[in-house]
């Protein structure tokens, strides 16, 4: 609730912004404006003038446009085309029904791809090959030893 009093300038500004319809005035300013109207004749005059202007504006005539609606409906419309990207996004996240499996699937794809890729390059070496590599390294190191020292 705004208890601040309103002066005539502020009231004029209120009318400029919102017109004479009190229901259009912001609630926090409406009460102060109403209080001012009760005590200030000039404010009442301003409101009356704005109200008169608003009524006159509402009376400004508008012409009829016979057949316009029909012409707009009948006008030739280009065929609607979607880009492949738009179609994919619409399939992925459809507007109508929430089919969650599609975005979930799409978000899992990078993970699956990463696993497959990693498996192919690094983790596909078999244990037998590891063992063979290990023994060939051992034999190589043994071959380098000087066995005469131990004898």
């Amino acid at each position: 609730m705004n208890d601040k009093a309103m002066n005539l300038n502020e009231f004029t500004e209120l009318l400029d912004l919102y017109g004479s319809a009190t229901e259009a005035w912001p609630p926090q300013r409406r009460e102060a404006a109403t209080r001012l109207l009760k005590v200030d004749q000039q404010a009442r005059l301003l409101l009356q003038q704005q109200s008169q202007l608003d009524e006159t504006l509402a009376q400004l005539p508008l012409p009829e446009f016979p057949g316009l609606e029909h012409r707009i409906i009948q006008q030739a419309l280009p065929q609607r085309r979607r880009s492949p990207l738009d179609s994919f996004i619409e399939w992925l996240i459809p507007h109508r029904t929430p089919q969650l499996w599609r975005p979930v699937l799409a978000s899992c794809l990078p993970l699956v791809f990463g696993i497959l890729l990693g498996n192919y390059f690094s983790f596909g070496v078999s244990e037998q090959q590891l063992a063979e590599d290990y023994w060939s390294d051992e034999l190589y190191i043994l071959a380098l030893n000087d066995y005469n020292e131990g004898l």
Partner: protein, 170 residues
């Protein structure tokens, strides 16, 4: 609008029926000419059809979006035809005055109409959207692609000018 995106002409026709009057009234207030109003209104709905996938339901109401298209078309038209006098084409369909009061009223309406058409386009648009088309200040600001503060400034100036045109105290 989803149906329009999918290419449904029936949905398109339904939206034309619902909004064509409002759009044509706005365009008329901006342009003041029957023929130009019809062209702009027709173009608005053509763009609605071709740009339907740009509409985001969560961001704005459909009426706001359509009025924005109409507003942009009107502004482009007015800038293109800036050298032409728009006031001459204004038609006030006043009924024949059968009394002094109605004659005075008719003159008042004519004076106000001319004052409205003489406003700068942003002020005319602001007063038309907020007062005549009953959009909120925020919606009108969205339509005109400006801040609410800028809209309110235009609205204030428009109301002041119109009051002065009626010989009312400012």
């Amino acid at each position: 609008m989803q149906a329009v995106c999918a290419g449904s002409q029936g949905a398109y026709a339904a939206l034309v029926t619902r909004y064509s009057k409002s759009i044509s009234h706005y365009a008329y207030r901006m342009l003041g000419s029957n023929r130009d109003t019809e062209d702009i209104t027709q173009e608005t709905f053509l763009r609605m059809w071709t740009q339907a996938d740009r509409y985001q339901p969560g961001k704005a109401k459909l009426s706001t979006w359509l009025h924005r298209i109409a507003h942009n078309l009107c502004v482009d038209f007015l800038r293109k035809h800036a050298n032409m006098e728009t006031g001459d084409q204004v038609e006030v369909h006043a009924e024949a005055a059968d009394s002094l009061a109605s004659l005075e009223n008719s003159e008042m309406l004519d004076r106000l109409n001319k004052a409205l058409m003489s406003l700068p386009e942003n002020q005319r648009s602001a007063i038309t959207l907020c007062h005549l088309q009953n959009f909120s200040n925020q919606e009108a600001a969205d339509i005109m692609n400006m801040s609410v503060k800028a809209l309110e400034s235009a609205l204030s100036r428009a109301r002041r000018t119109l009051r002065q045109s009626q010989g009312l105290r400012d």
